[in-house]
Assembly symmetry: C2
Homo-oligomer: 256 residues x 2
């Protein structure tokens, strides 16, 4: 219970939020209890599930600075067993504010330990950087799921991400393991996608999820309706692939 999974990659626009929102929703739909932690000052995971970022009273920022407990900030969603710890622009100041804080890397870990919440999974959506917010997520997590867009620049950044995970494992969180690597925005018509997939598979072997997320316009339309893709268009390829991912994720976790 209370397994914490960080969705992280410093490369921008690789599908971290899309994966966080849709994996969380599919797990909830499959009967799991889930809290989605929005650790990105952009607040896309918050609005992607139909919540109003501009009217958040307390959220992730307040949990990090220890002002409000996580339990008191959780917001319900249209999925009965999925709640969100929302983000707002206060979070943008957190990185600078936390720098001089004692145990600055463990603020999220401490907040989750004191959360007094009992769920199957915490899914943590990270911002596109390797700064203190993402370090907090990795220090607090049991595993990290890495979305890798099927593009050249995204492939280039994977090495830096792996080194950062190694450093966090050595100095901050010895239990941190890799949940898996997820190929996203895969376009079967281009050689580039095939080449990137081949490189990722040779680098990570069976840590790569069998499920590959294709480029699918329904995935980018769903957030404008404040819904996960399984509610926006359940028969779309995007919805079917994220359901497959949730099933594969659960198989890997039940096997433990």
């Amino acid at each position: 219970a209370n397994k914490v999974v960080a969705i992280a990659n410093q490369k921008g626009g690789v599908g971290k939020t899309t994966t966080s929102v849709n994996l969380a929703a599919c797990l909830a739909d499959a009967g799991c209890s889930v809290v989605l932690v929005d650790l990105d000052p952009q607040g896309n995971a918050t609005s992607g599930l139909g919540l109003d970022r501009d009217n958040v009273e307390s959220g992730t920022y307040h949990a990090l600075i220890g002002e409000v407990g996580i339990k008191d900030s959780l917001l319900p969603t249209m999925y009965e067993t999925l709640r969100v710890l929302p983000s707002n622009t206060d979070l943008a100041g957190a990185e600078i504010e936390l720098v001089d804080h004692e145990s600055r890397e463990f603020r999220l870990r401490e907040a989750l330990a004191n959360a007094d919440v009992d769920v199957d999974f915490f899914i943590v959506d990270c911002p596109p950087s390797l700064g203190l917010l993402t370090i907090n997520a990795l220090a607090a997590s049991d595993t990290v799921l890495m979305p890798v867009q099927a593009e050249y620049y995204a492939l280039e950044g994977v090495g830096q991400l792996v080194r950062t995970v190694e450093l966090v494992r050595e100095h901050l969180n010895p239990e941190l393991a890799l949940e898996g690597v997820l190929l996203t925005m895969y376009d079967a018509r281009t050689n580039l996608s095939e080449q990137v997939a081949a490189d990722v598979e040779s680098y990570f072997g069976n840590l790569v999820f069998d499920t590959i997320i294709p480029r699918n316009v329904k995935l980018s339309e769903a957030p404008s309706h404040g819904k996960a893709v399984i509610s926006y268009d359940a028969t779309s390829r995007g919805a079917r692939r994220y359901r497959d991912l949730a099933r594969e994720f659960l198989d890997r976790n039940r096997a433990i």
Copy 2:
């Protein structure tokens, strides 16, 4: 001369680097002298022009901390009048290192003022955040060019970007103006692109470039060959649109 243009947007993956590299190359190809400043620890602009990030002796990081002058770190590219101030992973530590530094927001501005380099344009590729590196870029720039991906999450973030530019103008750089807003990865087959374009145009009016960059696979293939798209596939839609952008950019700048 020496006009400084920041290419900025905290939303990840919206085409900042693709615009920096291709606008810089097209301007150089049209006879301008350009320095591309890679201010992103990912170093995508550096590798996108065929340079080796892992063998950078000195670059943007060293200029920010005042260790090496910009002129001594510039690297040549395949374009005669385009040079790069390269980035490497040292830059990842700069944000935390600069926090306690006096005049931490003006490190880049001071380095450019002392650069002893005479060019038409400095193009500054920013990381996907509104932290100290991007603030340094905005404090050092004459104008900011905002790439906005034709997607919902990218549209959501525009307000925060505009507010940050306003704050920098009020407190750090009263001369900072908007170079323009560039629509990127526009897919004419989807309603989403049309809706986002309409919203952006109603918000920014004639600050939106007439040139719209379409989604074009040649743009994402070019970096794996270390080339700008005009050299990778000169007849592609991606190459033609970035040439159009360079022409429109020069028209706006010559008119001044």
